[in-house]
């Protein structure tokens, strides 16, 4: 029963209060690079959730056997093993996606979210909880990615998941396809998220 409660708490934390991108500002390299199309973001999000969840679990399983001073090295190796699995899977079943994401699949290894969860949570928690924790951080990341790419794809190409939604005479915003827009949109989302959070906190204080 308590596991269910813990899981709920972990998910709330990963997606809302401790969202890796909006609150901790980590792992944004790939968040910016792959968000010009929604499909890319979705696949990237799933891949990252997979790697984070399983590497957190593995780190947690091995935590009592890993010597402390080489644990970073061990974590990096575990993470890259899972990234290789993702890469081979993409190459085998989704060759177009693999080409579109290019080197950014490999760059999941250096995504600070995974290291952060392994170091900050999995190192001192049981395997199942670590798995859920990794999954929730991955979901938080995926949601932000999808939101950024929704704005960019809608305004940049006039499509959502590759389907045309905007009217025929819609003028495409070329800027949205180019890198700068990713910076602007992420900054605006962070601003909005900050305001939402502080508003909630203030309300909480008043209620007390």
């Amino acid at each position: 029963m308590s596991l269910k409660k813990d899981a709920k708490k972990i998910f709330k934390k990963g997606i809302l209060y401790d969202n890796p991108i909006l609150v901790q500002v980590i792992g944004i390299c790939s968040a910016l690079a792959v968000t010009n199309r929604m499909m890319n973001s979705l696949i990237m999000g799933i891949a990252l959730s997979f790697v984070t969840a399983f590497s957190s679990m593995t780190v947690s399983l091995l935590k009592s056997r890993t010597p402390r001073h080489i644990r970073m090295m061990v974590q990096v190796l575990i993470i890259s093993a899972y990234v290789i699995i993702v890469d081979i899977f993409l190459k085998a079943y989704m060759i177009d996606m693999s080409k579109a994401l290019g080197p950014y699949v490999g760059l999941i290894i250096t995504n600070c979210i995974i290291m952060g969860r392994a170091e900050g949570f999995a190192q001192s928690n049981p395997p199942l909880l670590s798995f859920l924790d990794g999954l929730s951080s991955g979901f938080g990341y995926t949601l932000v990615l999808l939101f950024i790419s929704l704005v960019r794809e809608l305004l940049g190409f006039g499509t959502v998941f590759g389907r045309a939604v905007m009217p025929q005479n819609f003028t495409k915003w070329t800027l949205m396809v180019m890198p700068p827009s990713a910076f602007f949109i992420l900054a605006l989302i962070m601003w909005a998220a900050y305001n939402l959070r502080t508003k909630k906190e203030k309300e909480g204080v008043e209620k007390k």
């Binding site: 500002v25 490999g106 290894i109 992420l186 900054a187 962070m190 601003w191 900050y194």
Partner: protein, 196 residues
């Protein structure tokens, strides 16, 4: 793409396809460390150094060991190991012989291992199939481009301290917006030379 002149790649990797402004690599430390100019320069120099050496090392390992044995799928693990080992080695050598610089860089050195720009340049080098000289120029250029970006950002941010920014925008969001404006400015270079 293979017959691009190495010097063109050098210029292009500094300006038109800058690691930060057009490939979004190394953003984490870019945002965290760009508060003061001296530390930004220190990190920039360290990244440029590590980047140049590890990319060349990775080039040698990839084409001379991984490709002949058909082990390309191990690329990620091997690259990250080379980078981590090199950073560790550099740290030990610097502690012994250049202790001033070592203490000045201090915490940044180990952090370089997880800087996506380093691994990213190695992966781009493989994806674009550069030859040795092109790889060398690409890695040095990318390093300089990264250092240039972080130094410029630190300069802007140190001026920013005196301005009143909306509360929610302080810290990371405003840095992202400035980066976006700088990226717009760097797009102006894109007519000059173009590499993928």
């Amino acid at each position: 793409m293979i017959d691009v002149h190495p010097f063109v790649i050098f210029i292009a990797s500094i300006f038109t396809s800058n690691m930060i402004f057009s490939n979004f690599l190394g953003m984490c430390s870019f945002i965290a460390v760009s508060k003061e100019i001296p530390t930004a320069i220190g990190l920039g120099v360290a990244v440029t150094m590590v980047l140049s050496f590890t990319t060349v090392l990775n080039y040698i390992v990839y084409w001379n060991i991984l490709v002949p044995f058909g082990l390309e799928y191990l690329m990620y693990i091997v690259f990250i190991l080379v980078i981590a080992a090199f950073v560790q080695l550099l740290e030990m050598v610097m502690e012994r012989y250049l202790s001033n610089l070592y203490y000045a860089l201090g915490i940044f050195l180990p952090l370089i291992t997880v800087n996506c720009a380093i691994l990213g340049v190695s992966l781009f080098m493989v994806a674009r199939q550069y030859d040795f000289l092109q790889t060398f120029m690409f890695s040095v250029g990318s390093g300089i481009g990264w250092a240039l970006a972080i130094t410029a950002m630190a300069g802007i941010r140190s001026k920013l301290n005196e301005n009143s920014i909306p509360e929610g925008l302080r810290g990371a969001p405003i840095t992202l917006i400035i980066t976006g404006i700088m990226a717009l400015a760097f797009i102006g270079f894109s007519g000059m030379v173009q590499i993928q």
